[in-house]
Amino acid sequence: MIRVVKLNKFFGEKQVLKDISIEYQPGKCSLVIGASGSGKTVLLKSLVGLLPIDSGEIWYDDVLFSSLGEKEIKNIRKEIGMLFQGSALFDFASVEENIRFPMDFFTEWSKEEKLERVNFCLKRVNLINVNKLFPNELSGGMQKRVGIARAIALNPKYLFCDEPNSGLDPHTSILIDQLIAEITEEYNITTIVNTHDMNSVMEIGDQVSFIHKGEKVWEGSRNDILTSNSAELNEFVFANNMAKKVKEMMQQAAR
């Protein structure tokens, strides 16, 4: 479980996150949604300590993460997997070496054991026979999948995904969403996913927090999202015409 209490984050004078409090449960996909620039990436990076916060608390289970020193942070990070918005694969390393990277640092496994784990992770994300390819030889969707394989290489307790399906076609997007949802449940991971894709919300949003201009203005499950009466949320959710029409039809049917 990860718990955020009254988190505030400034860049200079500009407040990017305002009094954010959220709880993320293990075994669930928690989504953070919001328009571009609303602060999703900053929130995610603050949660893992890549950005310093100005006030508030971040708890990993019963450890107050936001007050830890460098050494203790390092230890928690060994239990964190993260998929970056741009995949962030190491371009000096092949797919296999990318996934093996954390194993080389933190396990005493033999070569064979590592390779076995690499292949297991790759199979888990539906990639085979790409071990020797380099990141620049992969499509965007394949890079995302390798990114996920690398993130789960050491069985993380916490998984962070920043826009796992931006720039992917709808079909591949759904596959990636389902993959994240499956591993979350299978390994009881506390998973936090940033997205502005309503398809993902409806597909995997066990718990959804809506961020608007740095504030959490709505929280609930995907089932409640279409019927909420938060003006900002409706504007976000029904930004496209099709969704609007669906809502009108639903309302008519209800009458």
Partner: protein, 247 residues
């Protein structure tokens, strides 16, 4: 001024992260030898070419400047040796390496920064500064002094070569000059300078790369800043070390 202090502070903080015990020594050594190849061995050709030409030019210049019959011809060899060992093979070569190696390091680390590869390492719990930078600093600081020695030898050979071709002085005069009043302390002085310069080049360009921001333009400008800053610092360090070791 405040800006300069800010940069200095961040540099010191980064170096504190760099100079810690590596997470895993086998990984450090692997990186170390990769960087010896990339930063030191790969510089051999350019250093050799420059040294041969400069050695030859110094010999021609000195020889054509000796008009007085009272100055012995062996002075040519003496001059070539002294200018090569004192300045050329350390300071000049270091300035050239600041361009070659410095831009290589800062653009490599800088592009890893802006594509979030460094963040990805940090998230795994890896000390990215230590993993990426320590092997580079150690490889160059330990082995570049030998590059200086090599440059010295090749420079002297360049001088011999031009004498063989032009007969501007005799070979035995040149060799006599090379032996004349030789102080091995100068070699030590020059190798020390090279070690310090190499530390400057690798740490400064790693620093600018590590804190690069603002896309590929940012990587380009951080690499320019790295070259300018390390060149200036090399000149300052040259002055300081010379004052300490030769006065």
């Amino acid at each position: 001024m405040k800006n300069a202090l800010d940069i200095l502070g961040r540099y010191v903080l980064l170096m504190r992260k760099v100079f810690t015990k590596p997470d895993k020594s086998s990984i450090f050594w692997k990186q170390f030898f990769t960087d010896v190849e990339k930063l030191v061995l790969n510089s051999i050709p350019i250093v050799a070419v420059i040294s041969v030409f400069i050695g030859a030019v110094i010999v021609i210049q000195t020889a054509s400047n000796i008009e007085s019959p009272f100055i012995p011809k062996m002075y040519v060899g003496y001059m070539a040796r002294e200018s090569l060992v004192l300045e050329f093979c350390s300071t000049m070569i270091a300035l050239i390496l600041a361009g070659k190696v410095g831009s290589n390091i800062s653009s490599e680390i800088g592009s890893m920064r802006i594509t979030e590869q460094i963040d990805a390492m940090e998230i795994m719990g890896i000390n990215s500064a230590n993993y990426l930078i320590l092997p580079k600093i150690s490889a160059a600081t330990i082995f570049n002094p030998f590059l200086m020695l090599m440059s010295f030898m090749i420079g002297l050979l360049g001088g011999a070569m031009i004498i063989f071709i032009t007969g501007i002085v005799t070979m035995s005069q040149y060799v006599d000059g090379l032996h004349y009043a030789f102080r091995s302390y100068y070699i030590f002085y020059s190798m020390t300078k090279m070690a310090v310069f190499s530390f400057i080049i690798t740490s400064i360009s790693s620093f600018y790369g590590y804190y690069a921001s603002g896309g590929s333009l940012g990587v380009g400008s951080s690499s320019t800043k790295a070259i300018v800053a390390s060149s200036v610092l090399i000149l300052v360090a040259n002055l300081v070390i010379t004052h300490i070791m030769l006065v």
